[in-house]
Symmetry: C2
Subunit: 537 residues, 2 copies
C-alpha cells in the first residue's frame, strides 16, 4: 500500500489527482527535500501554521526576540484600532469571494499606503507534518490578510532553493499570485492563542485536527491511527483471513463480561462467597496496601524471582478476597437482574463464517454502555474481532507465571494493577472462572473456561480471547444457566448440530491500542470525533 | 497486500500460523496445483462438500449415474432404519468428543461387520473455492460418519498424486488418521437438499456461507466483498487520503435527500408548481408511457443520437411534470414537518479533518430508514465517504449530455429509469435543484446546487457527490431555510469562519457496489448477516 514514493527523485511533481494543487508530501518528503525541483511553477494549498513579516523600510524592529512573530503582528493582535486600520489599508476583505469582510467594521479609509514588506508563511496542507515556506511580497498580496494562524490559501508560484536566513527550509515557494484566501476571525479563533491546554482543546473537536503543539498534535495521532488501520487489514489479509462487515446494532452484549447470572449460579456464588465469613473489607484493603509495598520493595531490591512470585501470589490472593467481599455486599444489596434479550448477531456472524470460510475478522464500531465515565470508556468504539476454525487455546508463555486462586472475579481495576504496578509489562491472564465470561466460552473442567485477557500497562484489557464451546450439550447447559433463549440461541446451537469444529477468537479494542501506541491517556484524544465530547455531545 | 504467494513453487507448505493444519489455499492455488508436494505428511481441516463411497467387494452398484453419490449413500439418506443400523455399526458416535450420538437412537447392535470400502471426500476449508480430495479407507475410519455434506473433519495423511479415476484432482490426501469429526444431523440440516432455492436460503443466514450452488455461492460473494474492502483502502491510501473512523450514531440525515423544507422554500415550491395548472396526473402518466415507447423504438432502430437525445429530453420533461404534480398533491394533503434535530457529527468529522489534513475518507456502517422494504434498502449499510480540500466539482463528461429541465425533483425511480432503460449504462446526473439536496451543498446560482449522482443500471444511485458551501453568508441562509439550528450548526459554520476552503466529497454505497460487481439483485445477499433477514430479524 505504499504510495507516491516520496523518496524517489522523479523530475516532476505529483499533481493532486482531484484538484489543481500539488500535494506537499510529494515535495517535502523527497530524499533531497525537493531541491531538485527548484525552478518549477506549481500551485499549492494549505493553512498558515506560523508566520513572519519583514518590513523593507529601514525602521528597526527593536526588542523583538520572538522568531515567528514580528512587531507589526504583535501590534495587530494587541491593539484593535491598529488592526482595523491595517485591515482596511490592506483590503481586509480579500479572498476570491471578495466582499464579506469578517469581524472588521467599515471605517474611514486612511490615505497612507502601507510600507512594503515580505510575508514568510509556514504552510501545511496536512499531507505530512512538514510545512512549506511560502514567501509573499506585499506587491503580490497584502500581508494583512495572511498573517494569522489558521488562514487558508491557494498560491501559485515558483519553487526556489531555500535561503538559510529563513530557517531550515531546503526549498521554498516564491508566490506569484494568491488565488484564494480563507481568513480567520482572529478574536474568536481558539487556536490563535498558542498552546491551548488539552482540556480546553476538547471543547473544539472540529478544530483539534489543526493543532500543532508538541504535546498534542491531533493530526499526528490520526496519522498513527490511519497507519494502524492499514496495518490491521494487512496483517489479517496476509494471514489468509477474510474481512467481514458484521452487524453493529445490539452488539453490546457480545464479548461483555457479565455478572448477571442465572439462579443456579447465583446460589453457587452466594455459597462460595460465604467462606469469607465476617472479615472486614477495610482490614483486607489495608492488608492489600501492606502487601503492595512489600512487592514494590522486592522489585526495587531486585530480589530473586521466587520470593517476588510468592509475594505477588499472596497479594493477589488478598486482592481476590477483597473482591469476594465486595461481591457479597453487592449480592446483599440487591438481586442482579436477568440479562435482557441478548443480541448475538455479531457473534453469530463471525462464527457462521468461521465455520465455513475458516478464518475471518471484522473491523467496525461497537456500542457500549458509557454511563460510567472513565478515560478508557466511550459509547462508540472500534473493535477488531477474529475467529479461527480448527483452533484451540494453546498453553501461554509460562516463563513467569503466577497461579491465581480461583474463587473471586478479577475486576478491571485488579487487572490494570497487575500490568501497571506488579509486572509493569503486558500480562496475560487466563483460565477465568466461568461466571465472569460470556455463555459461549468453552468450559475447561466445570469451573474455569478457556479464556484469556491481555492486559497492558496504563490501558487495561487490550485483547480478550476465548475458545468457543463446540459441544452442543455443554453449550445448551450454559445457555440455560445464563437464562437465555430465543431464535438466535437456536441458530448458535445449529452451528454445533451440523459440522461443528473447535474454534477460537479474540476481540481487540482498537481505540485502546491507539492509547497504547501513542502513550496518550484519554480515549477521547485518539478518536477522530468522540460523541461524549464538549459541544459535540 | 498479496499473501502467501500461492503461485510459487516453495518446497514446503505454509502451515496455518494459529492451528496445526495447513491452509488448503497454499496447496491448491500453487501454479503446479500442489503436485510437487506429493509425499509430504500434513494435517488438513474442512467441511465435506461432496462425497462418494466405493465398496471393495464385487457387488455392482447398478443404475447409479450420480457421480458423487453412491448407492450406499442413497440407502442411508432415504431409509431411516438402514441409516440407524449403519450408524451403530460404524460407531456413529464418533468424533473426539465421543459419546453424544446425535439424532440416532440406541438400538440393538447388529453383529455383521460392514463390508470394506473407501470414502472419497471433497473437502473445503474455505480458504479458496477449490476442494481437496481426501481418501479415507474404512480401515482408517468408518465412512458412515463422514458421508454427509457439511460434516467437518480434521485429518492427518500423506499427499499423493491424483489419479484420473477420481476426477480432475492433481493432488489428493491419503488419510492415515481422522483426528476429529463434527457430524451433521442429516434430517435437520437444510443444506442436505441440493440446490436450495435462494428465497429459502435466506432463512438460514448462519448456513448461507456454506452454500456451493453455482447460482448463489455466498462464500464467493464474500471473497469479492473482501477484495473490494481491500481495494477501497488501497485506492485511498495510494492517493494520499487518511482513513477516519467517523461517528456512526445519528448519522442518518447526513446525505439524505430531503423534501422537508423551511417555510420560505415551501412557498416558493408552491409557486413553482402552480404553473402546472389543472393538468391531470393520469393523463401525464399516459403520455409518459407513450414517450417511453418512442424512446425504446428509437433505441431498437439504432436511429441517430440527436433524435434519441431529443426524445429522451421530451420524456424526462414529461416525467418531471408528473413529479411536480405529485409533489403538489403532497403539499395539499399536509404540511411537511420540520426536520428533527439534525445530527451532523459524521459530516462535521469529515469536513473538520479535510480542512486540516487535506484528504480524508471514512469507511463504516450507517443507519438508514428501512421502513420502506425494497431489494436495495437495509437498516444498516456500509458507506465509503470522502472529502477533498481545495477542490470543486469540475465539468463532467458531456459527450452525450441531455439537459434536464429543472423544476421537478427526479425521484430514485426516475434515476434508475435513466440508467436501466434509456442509456443502459452508468449515468451522471448533476446540477440538481437546491430543494432536493441537503443544506450544505454549494449553491451554484440561487436555484441549482453543485451536486451529482452516479446512477448505474439495476442498482440505482451508487455515488452521491457534492461541493460543500464554503461561503459563510450563503451557508447561514441555507441553514435558516432548512429550519436548522443548534451547536453542531455553529461548529459547521465555524469551519467557514476560520480558514475556509473550497472542498468537495462523495458518498458511495458499498453494499450497492457489491450488487453492481456481482450482478445479484437483493442487497441482503451481499451483506454477511443482514438484520432484516429471516430468523435473524
Amino acid at each position: 500500500m505504499a504510495s507516491q514514493e516520496p523518496g524517489t527523485l522523479s523530475p516532476s511533481l505529483l499533481p493532486h489527482k482531484y484538484s489543481n494543487r500539488i500535494v506537499l508530501k510529494t515535495l517535502l518528503e523527497r530524499s533531497d527535500g525537493g531541491v531538485a525541483l527548484a525552478g518549477q511553477r506549481v500551485v499549492i494549498g494549505g493553512w498558515v501554521k506560523s508566520f513572519k513579516e519583514v518590513k523593507k523600510d529601514p525602521v528597526p524592529t527593536q526588542g523583538n526576540d520572538q522568531k515567528n512573530v514580528t512587531c507589526a503582528e504583535i501590534l495587530q493582535s494587541r491593539i484593535p484600532l491598529f488592526r482595523s486600520i491595517y485591515k482596511i489599508l490592506c483590503g481586509g476583505g480579500g479572498g476570491s469571494s471578495g466582499n464579506h469582510p469578517i469581524g472588521g467594521k467599515l471605517e474611514a479609509v486612511v490615505a497612507t499606503p502601507p510600507s512594503p514588506s515580505t510575508a514568510f508563511l509556514c504552510v501545511s496542507d496536512g499531507s505530512c507534518a512538514a510545512t512549506l515556506l511560502v514567501v509573499v511580497d506585499s506587491s503580490v498580496a497584502c500581508p494583512g490578510q495572511l498573517l494569522f494562524t489558521g488562514t487558508s490559501l491557494l498560491a501559485k508560484g515558483v519553487l526556489i532553493k531555500g535561503t538559510p536566513v529563513h530557517g531550515n527550509h531546503v526549498i521554498e515557494l516564491q508566490a506569484e499570485k494568491i488565488l484564494y484566501v480563507g481568513k480567520v476571525e482572529d478574536e474568536k479563533y481558539p487556536l490563535s492563542k498558542k498552546r491551548l491546554p488539552l482540556e480546553k482543546l476538547r471543547n473544539f473537536p472540529h478544530f483539534r485536527p489543526r493543532t500543532t503543539t508538541a504535546s498534542f498534535y491531533v493530526a499526528s495521532v490520526m496519522r498513527v491511527r490511519n497507519a494502524l488501520i492499514v496495518a490491521t487489514h494487512a496483517f489479517f489479509q496476509n494471514h489468509g483471513f477474510l474481512c467481514l462487515q458484521a452487524p453493529v446494532v445490539g452488539y453490546a452484549q457480545k464479548f461483555q463480561v457479565t455478572t448477571q447470572l442465572g439462579d443456579a449460579d447465583k446460589e453457587e456464588e452466594t455459597r462460595s462467597t460465604k467462606d469469607t465469613g465476617d472479615v472486614n473489607l477495610e482490614i483486607v484493603k489495608a492488608a492489600i496496601n501492606e502487601k503492595n509495598r512489600l512487592v514494590e520493595e522486592l522489585i526495587r531490591s531486585e530480589s530473586n524471582r521466587e520470593a517476588l512470585a510468592a509475594a505477588v501470589k499472596d497479594l493477589l490472593k488478598t486482592t481476590q478476597l477483597a473482591t469476594q467481599l465486595e461481591m457479597q455486599e453487592k449480592l446483599k444489596s440487591g438481586t442482579p437482574s436477568k440479562p435482557d434479550k441478548v443480541d448475538l448477531s455479531g457473534l453469530l456472524c463471525l462464527e457462521s463464517y468461521a465455520c465455513a470460510l475458516g478464518n475471518v475478522y471484522s473491523f467496525g464500531p461497537k456500542f457500549q454502555d458509557d454511563s460510567i465515565v472513565t478515560s478508557k470508556n466511550v459509547a462508540e468504539t472500534w473493535m477488531v474481532e477474529a475467529q479461527i476454525a480448527f483452533s484451540q487455546l494453546e498453553e501461554t508463555d509460562k516463563a513467569f507465571e503466577t497461579e491465581l486462586e480461583w474463587g473471586g472475579a478479577l475486576t478491571a481495576e485488579h487487572l490494570s494493577y497487575l500490568a501497571d504496578e506488579v509486572y509493569k509489562t503486558p500480562v496475560v491472564v487466563y483460565n477465568y472462572r466461568k461466571e465472569v465470561k460470556p455463555f459461549h466460552v468453552r468450559l475447561n473442567d466445570g469451573v474455569t473456561v478457556a479464556a484469556f485477557d491481555l492486559v497492558v500497562p496504563k490501558v487495561g484489557v487490550l485483547i480478550s480471547g476465548s475458545q468457543s464451546e463446540e459441544r452442543i450439550d455443554t453449550l445448551n447447559t450454559r445457555i440455560k444457566e445464563f437464562g437465555m433463549s430465543g431464535e438466535q440461541c437456536e441458530m448458535y446451537l445449529d452451528l454445533r448440530r451440523h459440522g461443528t469444529v473447535k474454534h477460537s477468537g479474540f476481540a481487540l479494542g482498537f481505540d485502546l491500542m491507539l492509547l497504547y501506541a501513542t502513550g496518550l491517556n484519554d480515549i477521547r484524544d485518539v478518536i477522530p470525533f468522540p460523541r461524549s465530547f464538549g459541544k459535540a455531545n
